[in-house]
């Protein structure tokens, strides 16, 4: 073997070894997009219990300021009475005061409608603490002190669990059941939060770039969905799901499902592919819908199935005009 060849072999093997080493470290430590990013997830996750089955996040500020929102607002003008009333009562302007919201569903055993657990809402922004507390007191709420944090405990009505509120940090309000808010206060001083749940954090780390995202256990979605037996049996074994969307002048998003095994993922891909093919056949005569379907991309690796979509501004314009047209044709009949 010549020296030149020996250098080539060593260089090539070194490249492979370094790549495998970095990948292995990333895999075992759980780095996200690269080996040099932070751990991931919004800071409010530290107040969410480790057993939360569903977590959703929305960057309210960015969504409200997006071109898309302005477009929808001008296309379908809505009454803002409710928003003004909410602002008068709480001092919170949804458009400007809330930066982002994190909602988690935690299986506590308390029944909350058709939800698979109790929700806890963590909103970060600028809040008038005194005004909010006064408003809740007007509606019969009591204020109590729990581990140095003021808890505003609402009155229980119609057998439903009472709604509580607490300011966990300056600019961070938590709203939820009494049990969950006390739990959040407990987690403030440490404890096992969702950040210690590797399975969920693995999903959340990959969603950070989205303006809005949700991740959770799939059974949490289907358990209260009252799906017909035939349908629920046909859904291949999905264990976890995640969805994220980026909103500016258009919407780009991805839905990702983690299945029990690779066979389930393959059959799920086949099902989705079948639906896409069927939808493409149905919309072949309607270019505005056909181009939307073209933007759907099926992907995924191993046990993951991913479906991404992209609605550019032009496509949204077409959908908005389609909506207007429908409104126009329906109006005389009403």
């Amino acid at each position: 073997m010549t020296t030149k060849t020996r250098y080539f072999v060593v260089g090539s093997m070194l490249t492979l070894a370094i790549g495998l080493g970095v990948g292995l470290v990333a895999y075992s430590v759980g780095f996200s997009t690269s080996a040099f990013t932070r751990e991931g997830g919004p800071a409010e996750l530290q107040f969410v219990p480790a057993n939360a089955s569903l977590i959703a996040y929305a960057d309210v500020h960015d969504v409200m300021a997006s071109d898309l929102r302005q477009q929808v607002r001008s296309a379908f003008p809505m009454k803002e009475d409710g928003q003004h009333e909410f602002q008068n009562q709480t001092g919170i302007n949804i458009e400007t005061d809330i930066d982002h919201v994190l909602v988690a569903i935690v299986p506590t055993g308390e029944e909350t409608g058709r939800m698979p657990g109790s929700p806890i809402v963590l909103a970060r922004g600028q809040f008038d603490q005194v005004k909010i507390e006064a408003l809740m007191r007007e509606h019969g709420a009591q204020v109590e002190d729990y581990k140095g944090t003021r808890l505003v405990v609402g009155e229980a009505a119609d057998g439903k669990p009472s709604l509580s509120l607490a300011f966990l940090e300056p600019g961070l309000v938590a709203v939820g059941s009494h049990l969950l808010i006390r739990g959040a206060v407990d987690l403030k001083s440490g404890g096992s939060s969702i950040a210690a749940n590797g399975e969920m954090m693995g999903l959340i780390r990959d969603l950070e770039s989205g303006h809005a995202w949700a991740a959770g256990r799939f059974d949490a979605l289907t358990s209260r969905a009252n799906l017909p037996d035939g349908v629920s049996q046909q859904i291949p074994g999905i264990t976890l799901f995640s969805a994220s969307a980026n909103i500016d002048s258009g919407i780009r998003g991805t839905f990702r499902a983690e299945s029990r095994d690779e066979a389930s993922a393959t059959s799920l891909r086949d099902v989705v592919r079948g639906f896409l093919a069927l939808a493409r056949m149905q919309t072949s005569a309607r270019p505005e819908l056909a181009s939307m379907l073209e933007s759907l991309q099926l992907g995924g690796t191993g046990k993951t199935v991913a479906l991404s979509f992209d609605l550019p501004p032009a496509m949204l314009d077409a959908l908005v005009s389609l909506g207007r047209h429908r409104q126009g044709t329906l109006a005389p009949q009403q």
Binding site: M1, T2, K4, T5, F8, V9, S12, M13, T15, L16, G19, L20, V22, G23, L24, A26, Y27, V29, G30, F31, S32, T33, S34, A35, G202, R205, D206, L207, E208, S209, G210, N246, D248, R252, T254, E262, T266, R269, D270, R273, A277, S291, E294, S295, L296, Q297, L298, G299, G300, T301, G302, T304, V305, A306, S308, F309, D310, P312
Partner: protein, 282 residues
């Protein structure tokens, strides 16, 4: 009884293979064909570098295919399918596999190898191993570089995709081994092996894979596709037909089939070289 002198002792099969491997690896790496190999391997890397640079300057604009936004991880999967599995691996198998013996015949240098006190089969196996080392050491680092450049684009996770990278590397090595062995046999047996190889790779395999039935089992691609961990791309009508009609074998049957195919083709190739009389054209 007199022991055979070291000069007259015939080397074992393994040491003959290693000697030929050592000799052929440098020849193979620094030949004219390497320019072609470098272009093939450099193409995906260049594409990944360009995509990464574009993404660095416009991070909010996601990469698009047919107007649809796709993540870097999806593009990596797409590149594995379209560039490596469907093109680079079979083409390299054809060009290098068929030339293992054919080049020596064409250059009339096979006599020098066959007059050495080594088994003829060892010549083929040694050259085959040199081909495998040469291609594996070029393609796998190229895939590695493409992986690290593409997957983080659009928020992809290296950690999450790492197991599939390992599967990709294994799959590509298995593909190179299988295609190389099959075309080594073709090269040892057929007079114009390159034409036959190109017809097989660019004609027979894509055509047969489209039809339902058992014909697709007479291809290497059928078993190789069973090992690809990424979803098959929806790039064309052909892919749609492939997804609709072709059944994908499982990982274990695919692996077993590729191992049997590689070992069988290599054995037949060695047997052919052992028994065939090569007539050198003057």
């Amino acid at each position: 009884m007199m022991a055979a002198s070291p000069a007259n002792r015939r080397p074992s099969f393994v040491s003959s293979v290693l000697r030929i491997f050592d000799l052929s690896l440098s020849e193979m790496l620094w030949s004219r064909r390497s320019v072609f190999l470098a272009l093939l391997v450099g193409g995906p890397v260049l594409l990944a570098v360009v995509s990464r640079v574009v993404w660095m300057f416009v991070p909010n604009e996601s990469l698009r295919i047919n107007g649809g936004a796709v993540s870097g991880a999806s593009i990596f999967g797409l590149m594995i399918w379209l560039l490596y599995v469907r093109f680079i691996v079979p083409i390299l198998g054809v060009f290098y596999g068929t030339s293992l013996i054919a080049d020596e015949v064409e250059d009339r240098t096979i006599t020098y190898l066959f007059t050495r006190p080594i088994q003829r089969g060892a010549v083929l196996v040694g050259k085959y191993l040199a081909y495998l080392a040469c291609t594996v050491l070029l393609i796998l680092p190229s895939v590695m570089v493409v992986f690290f450049l593409m997957v983080p684009v659009g928020g992809g996770s290296i950690a999450q995709m790492f197991p599939s990278l390992l599967a990709d590397l294994g799959m590509l090595a298995a593909g190179l081994a299988a295609y190389g062995a099959v075309f080594a046999w073709v090269g040892a047996r057929v007079k114009r092996p390159l034409v036959a190889g190109l017809v097989f790779v660019l004609g027979w395999e894509p055509a047969v894979l489209l039809f339902p039935g058992y014909l697709n089992r007479a291809t290497v691609a059928y078993y190789l596709q069973g090992l690809v961990p990424h979803a098959m791309p929806q790039d064309s009508t052909m892919s749609l037909l492939l997804q609709t009609f072709a059944d994908m074998p499982g990982i274990l049957p695919s692996l077993v089939a590729l191992v049997v195919l590689t070992a069988g083709a290599l054995w037949f190739a060695a047997r052919t070289v052992e028994s065939r009389e090569y007539v050198l054209e003057q």
